[in-house]
Symmetry: C2
Subunit: 446 residues, 2 copies
């Protein structure tokens, strides 16, 4: 049998970053930069004011203080967005708003809060008062400022030609802001993968349909489509297909040949075990690029993996929903993340302490859905509330988060209704036969 | 001045969970359940097989062992999805596949791996062989099984009428699987908020446009639109608007009156400080439902907050991009998360240790963009790589994650090109005047 790590390496080897495309800013959110984003010009482009106040010559107000104001004549206005360049001669000032270019002659800005308007009527003392900017007003400066004070220097944020965003970065809101600020209306990113999702089995019907004996609603294609979305890719959900190997083979070959548009990968569930009618194994029996293997992991032992003749990667996962979920997490999600262009394709992991133990299969790793619990929780048969957050992986100082099995009624790989109670999957190494209360394990949060 | 926590409480008070709507499964991803999801029937509905193998009477094979097989006649087949109910009489067995209903008479399942076919030709020893299921075949059972072995009992996963998903749960892939498994094709969730986003300023032009002196590309509306999306809501980006209070007032009143479709909230940036032309303050000066306050936080001191006459909440944030970002994170995002229907509206937080210190403003809390760094990093002037993951909040056992300021060239609130280097915002309490290397702080990861 193949080890968990060997099969993970095999599945990652199928994936490579997809080609680069240019997209509008918002469409790049959640995708990965395929090229550095550089500035054409220095950022900011001009010396500009960091405050609302008055552009001055620092030497003019070197002696200013609260009780010894220096009066300057206000010769003009530079609002944000203004292209005006009123000269600040000795003894004068120019009203300036945050972000406006520093006018010629000025070398510092005095914030409006450090000024007063001579002979102005008393107003709200918390609200600063402005001198008239039309050329006849006076302002009393009540604090000395050093040359350069409250001035943002051209190039302070980035030099011309500098990379402000590196290739490989996952684009978030602040990346869009940085790109926009250097004048970019589009970004070059790796294309979003489009992944076909198929569940198999004669027993499956669409949710909501009437069930006769032996039938169950299909849940795996919804699980996989949502997990593909959650991984950052676009799902093509093809719904449940029947146990007809020839029909399934035609569907897979058609996907591989582009009959359903661009498809960067195919994920199936079910039909890969030792059953007498296992449809995925039968459909792919003659495809030399696909192999069926047993992996030393529970759940998820029977796995299929490979490429169809046209080069499309295919992952055939077992059909028990808990197996499908764990297999997607460890074998498919990292490959999708690599297609997106990410260098680090793994979920965040933490060490946790086990609240209640359980027995594990010998000589196989185990992926156990676990739930974070308060460190003082009394073991209970079952918990249905959702009060502990899956992403809250902090813990008391020094302590590790505490977990127990999410599927407390049992650990069968069919307990799909219990899966939402899990916050992550604990990884029990193959050489561990029993997990005991107080043991520590590694968990990745899902 | 209002404290950070007081203003957070005021902003959350503006938000309530939006009305419930019914949506198809995949559309519910990322939304919050407005009602419990219950099973109509027990789950699973029938006793069924947990393995590929043979349905037997346990008493028939009580003496079976590897070297003492018990031969049974195979009287039928139950594939998954089959409605057949072949009777298992004493001395007989029925082939059964994983998930298929247990036929009458049988009380246990023997996995195919624990059987052999008498007189069958030798095949691949790793592949199990199947007896003919047509009625004439024989199977040799080589292991005793207890009554109930490898049988999934009806109701084992959930009882009829039981809630499998609680109201308030954030819908992820496994929630969709659980809902589908109980036959739900739709889910009842709180409607997704639609949030209008406006940046203000005569200096702003769309990214990509030619800049004349004094102009800069608008980045805040992109930042806010992406942050709204990232928070789980739908942005309505209205782009930069000029410093014209009457025009802005008409736009805001029109949004409030439904002229742009459903709008559940409005976020603006800029024009709320002490400038002589601050457009948002001027536009809303006569709106009694909106107040402008100073909050004891840096960045983000000038804030406006309230409701327009039609009831639409509005948050007016300061316009320096780093202020806009921090203000959205602490004042707007939690409100959007509450509109979504979440009880816990906060980002995950952890304590971190500070690598390099900095001075902070007296008597004001500080929200400092920080970057996670390796614990042995030598302080550097600047780092542009993106090698540390924002969601990797684990740390060495016992140790806390180590951070330093993301905007190492400065801490000015205009350093938008540096923001993507931040993994989170550190919260420096108002009574701290200086952060020293080795201090611990709370960080929320963005």
């Amino acid at each position: 049998m193949r080890s968990l790590d060997e099969h993970r390496a095999a599945t990652l080897a199928l994936a490579a970053p997809l080609p680069a495309i240019e997209v509008p800013l918002l469409d790049a959110l959640g995708l990965v930069l395929a090229a550095d984003v550089t500035t054409q010009a220095a950022l900011p482009r001009w010396d500009n004011s960091a405050m609302d106040g008055y552009a001055v010559r620092a030497a003019d107000v070197a002696a200013a203080a609260v009780d010894a104001g220096v009066v300057l004549r206000v010769v003009g206005d530079v609002a944000a967005g203004s292209a005006d360049e009123p000269e600040v001669a000795p003894g004068t000032a120019v009203r300036i708003m945050t972000g406006a270019p520093l006018p010629p002659g000025a070398d510092a800005v005095v914030p409006v809060e450090q000024t007063a308007v001579p002979d102005a009527p008393a107003g709200d003392p918390a609200e600063p008062q402005w001198a008239d900017g039309g050329g006849a007003g006076l302002v009393e400066v009540r604090a000395a400022v050093a040359p350069g004070a409250h001035v943002r220097r051209a190039g302070e944020d980035a030099d011309a030609g500098e990379a402000v965003l590196p290739a490989g970065a996952l684009v978030g809101p602040t990346h869009l802001a940085a790109a926009a600020s250097v004048g970019r209306a589009t970004l070059v990113v790796h294309r979003r993968p489009r992944i076909a999702v198929i569940s198999t089995g004669d027993e499956l019907v669409e949710p909501g349909a009437e069930l006769r004996r032996g039938q169950i609603p299909d849940s795996n294609s919804w699980l996989l489509a949502a997990a593909v979305l959650d991984a950052g890719a676009e799902p093509l959900r093809l719904g449940p297909v029947a146990d007809d190997p020839a029909a399934l083979h035609r569907l897979l070959v058609g996907l591989d040949a582009g009959e359903h548009g661009t498809v960067d990968g195919i994920v199936t569930s079910g039909g890969v075990s030792v059953g007498a009618f296992d449809v995925v194994k039968a459909a792919l029996a003659d495809e030399r690029g696909v192999e069926f293997v047993r992996v030393a992991v529970q759940p998820g032992k029977p796995q299929g993996l490979g490429r169809l003749p046209g080069g499309t990667p295919i992952w055939t996962l077992p059909g028990n929903p808990v197996s499908t979920h764990a297999s997607f997490e460890v074998f498919v999600r990292p490959a999708i993340r690599r297609m997106l262009g990410l260098a680090d394709v793994e979920r965040p992991r933490t060490r946790v302490v086990v609240g209640e133990g359980w027995r594990t299969p010998p000589a196989r790793a185990q992926l156990m859905p676990v739930r974070r619990v308060p460190s003082d929780e009394v073991p209970a048969d079952d918990v249905r509330s959702d009060d502990v957050r899956s992403d809250d992986v902090s813990s008391d100082e020094g302590g590790l988060p505490r977990v127990r099995r999410a599927t407390a009624r049992g650990s069968g790989s069919h307990l799909v209704a219990r899966l939402p109670q899990a916050h992550g999957l604990a990884i029990v190494p193959a050489d561990v036969d029993e997990v005991r209360a107080g043991d520590t394990l590694e968990v990745f949060w899902t």
